[in-house]
Symmetry: C2
Subunit: 415 residues, 2 copies
């Protein structure tokens, strides 16, 4: 770790500095850069003031080997980045004909008329390298200053990410002779972060490997970063060891989100799903259908909030509701079995619980949630006791239900 | 606007600089400070390195009147903020007996034993002012340097917000003789941001009033900030003027989100709602049921993804599906009317569309969405043409459907 290349990130824009917009670009880039083995030493945010942008670029190139600046490349008078970079270089600007032609073609394609402001986007520092934008109008550029390289890319997250993948990352790998280490992400559900960290403690002292953790409710991730020269057979053994240590809570390695893992499994098996939700209010169906192509396996969802709806649409018996209440194991089971029968699907997945803040009792406090999965071979059930506010409880309940389905599809539930 | 006080925000911590954690503190503080009439000129993020923290504090006090730093006050060796502040001041440290007694009492109350690391949290720069922490263990402090005041508070968002409310904001108001102005938020749906900005242009040049914009899809907000001495009758007239200029797109002033406005209206009117969703996959029901107490008016939601489900649960006719397709005005109308009849509710709200990326055609491109609202006096319908990816299209379609219901409840739709 003798000389890790250093990076300064600059975020520009009045909407960011005033807190109107939450800056997610700097975090996203910092994560990618850290994964690539670089060290982010400073993030600087400035508004749309020329002097502040110039100062930030100067400070960045003085402090670090690499500067990445997002925002300030648009057509308005507030977009001053190219001018600021030219000022730092002490040189003139140039009109980039190729970039201009590209912008003109874009406008022609959408039948819009172009004005001087749009043309301005193709005016870049004379000694800069143009980075073509295939994902929007404003081109990016890079400059060399004081031994540092500085990249300037749009602030629209979608465009910024494309610039990272197509321009910045390949250039950094080439320029810094990076042999990117390998990053392996273990994606987990149903394991608290503190427990996961405890499970991973034996792997903390492995030479050439670093573990990190990330929680985005309801999911937890373990990120294993190994040096480029880490032996392949040792890596295979290490990954297998971590897999078995995490156990059933692991839903995949280097995979997509759990709804994608579920979608792939259902597609492969030629199976279908329907949902019956009460406390989660449609979050389970919304999550499952966020995957393109989900119409191939997702047939129907019922958000049966009222008891009458539970009876009408899921065939829950009035007797069950009277004897056990809506938030109970029997109701959850009948909801799952009822929606499965109604929709004629392989599976029926249900949730019923108390999301709060009202509606709790000593016996069934806020956060009590029953989930059930009806399958061709019987019905699974689980009771959850969740903490937090309404939003957290419904989100964790959604995760719990999806994870029950995932565990079944991966053969981890006994039937 | 002669001399608006300036602020530099500093965020500290390896978890922030490496992108492991998204820094929401700086955005939250920037928004509060902007509302208070101060100008944030720089945000600086540094890791847990003493020299970097010292540099950031020096830069902050040199650039601005006020510095607010979050993070780095905990008990671990990585928590270097107090040491860095003392280095900036060039003075020694002191043990704050009151803060220590407070920490000791906390540990005693929870029956935990205290170690030197915990004691370290009460060691602050000699010439600092202690800011007691009633919401956690680590005390904060403030220092004076180069004519600036610098506040150092914990990075835990809940604690940081309490420090803002109880220590920082009152001290800024006192020290800078601020008389906080008033902030009025106009919340809008269905108006593109560029059009909203155009509508608001006549209000840009009003003495003593400043307009701001904020977009969080599918909502747009206009924020009107008026000086403390702005006459009350002029303010009433101005608010009325902005209201009528925005027109039907305004769903409320200083109110909650649209689902709360809808919930209040339904509750007042004693009316009920059921939903039938296709492309939105349950997002409409999940949004409506995010409001506590929604079980009083939300009866049932049907996520009828498959055509068979549309027929089975919403009573859409096979003939309509065959003649017009699932994504059509007749299908949207039959879905809304069908779920209304099934659930016995006052209203039935539906969506059907092509969220993409697949499934589009020349006649019905990706982003085509039909929404309908069945009422006791007839059914409203609207076709939307939405751009963007699957996530954006479904989110805007959800907003469009909720807004149709809101407009009806506010008497803005003709029946």
């Amino acid at each position: 770790m003798a000389s890790v290349p250093t990076v300064v990130l600059i975020s520009q824009g009045d909407e960011v500095i005033t807190g109107q917009t939450l800056d997610t670009n700097a975090q996203w880039l910092a994560e990618r850069l850290t994964e690539l083995g670089l060290s982010v030493v400073r993030k600087i945010t400035v508004g749309d003031r020329l002097n502040d942008i110039v100062d930030a670029i100067r400070q960045g190139t003085a402090l670090a080997d690499v500067v990445i600046s997002t925002g300030g490349l648009g057509p308005t008078v507030d977009d001053l980045t190219a001018e600021a970079a030219a000022a730092v270089l002490g040189g003139p600007m140039r009109l980039d004909e190729e970039a201009l032609a590209f912008i003109e073609a874009l406008f022609a394609r959408y039948g819009r008329t172009m004005n001087d402001a749009n043309r301005k986007q193709a005016v870049l520092p004379a000694s800069s390298t143009t980075l073509m934008n295939q994902w929007g109008t404003a081109p990016g550029f890079s400059i060399e200053h004081q031994g540092a390289v500085a990249f300037f890319v749009p602030g629209v997250p979608r465009e910024m990410r494309a610039f990272w993948a197509h321009h910045i990352q390949p250039e950094l790998v080439r320029r810094l002779s990076l042999t990117p280490g390998r990053l392996i992400t273990f994606r987990c559900m149903g394991i608290p972060e503190s427990h996961l960290e405890e499970l991973m403690r034996p792997f903390n002292a492995i030479d050439g490997a670093v573990l990190g953790f990330r929680t985005k409710l309801p999911e937890n991730q373990v990120k294993l970063r190994v040096d480029p020269d880490f032996p392949e057979d040792r890596l295979d053994a290490l990954v297998a060891d971590i897999r078995s240590t995490i156990g059933k809570g692991l839903f995949g390695v280097n995979c997509g989100p759990i709804e994608e893992v579920i979608g792939q499994a259902l597609t492969e098996r030629g199976e279908t799903i329907a949902t019956a939700e009460s406390c989660t209010g449609g979050q389970i169906s919304a999550t499952l259908t966020a995957i393109a192509g989900s119409s191939n396996y997702f047939i129907e969802g019922a958000c049966v909030y009222a008891n009458a709806a539970k009876v009408r649409t899921c065939g829950v018996s009035e007797g069950t509701l009277a004897a056990h209440g809506a938030v109970s194991e029997p109701t959850a089971r009948e909801m799952a079995e009822g929606i499965r029968a109604r929709a004629g699907t392989t599976y029926g997945l249900s949730s019923t619980g108390i999301a709060g803040p009202g509606g709790g009792s000593a016996e069934k406090p806020v956060g009590t949630v029953h989930i059930a999965l009806a399958t061709p071979n019987g019905t699974h059930h689980k009771r959850l006791r969740l903490g937090g506010d309404r939003e957290r409880i419904t989100r964790l309940a959604t995760g719990g239900a999806l994870d029950m389905l995932r565990r079944h599809l991966q053969g981890l539930l006994r039937t």
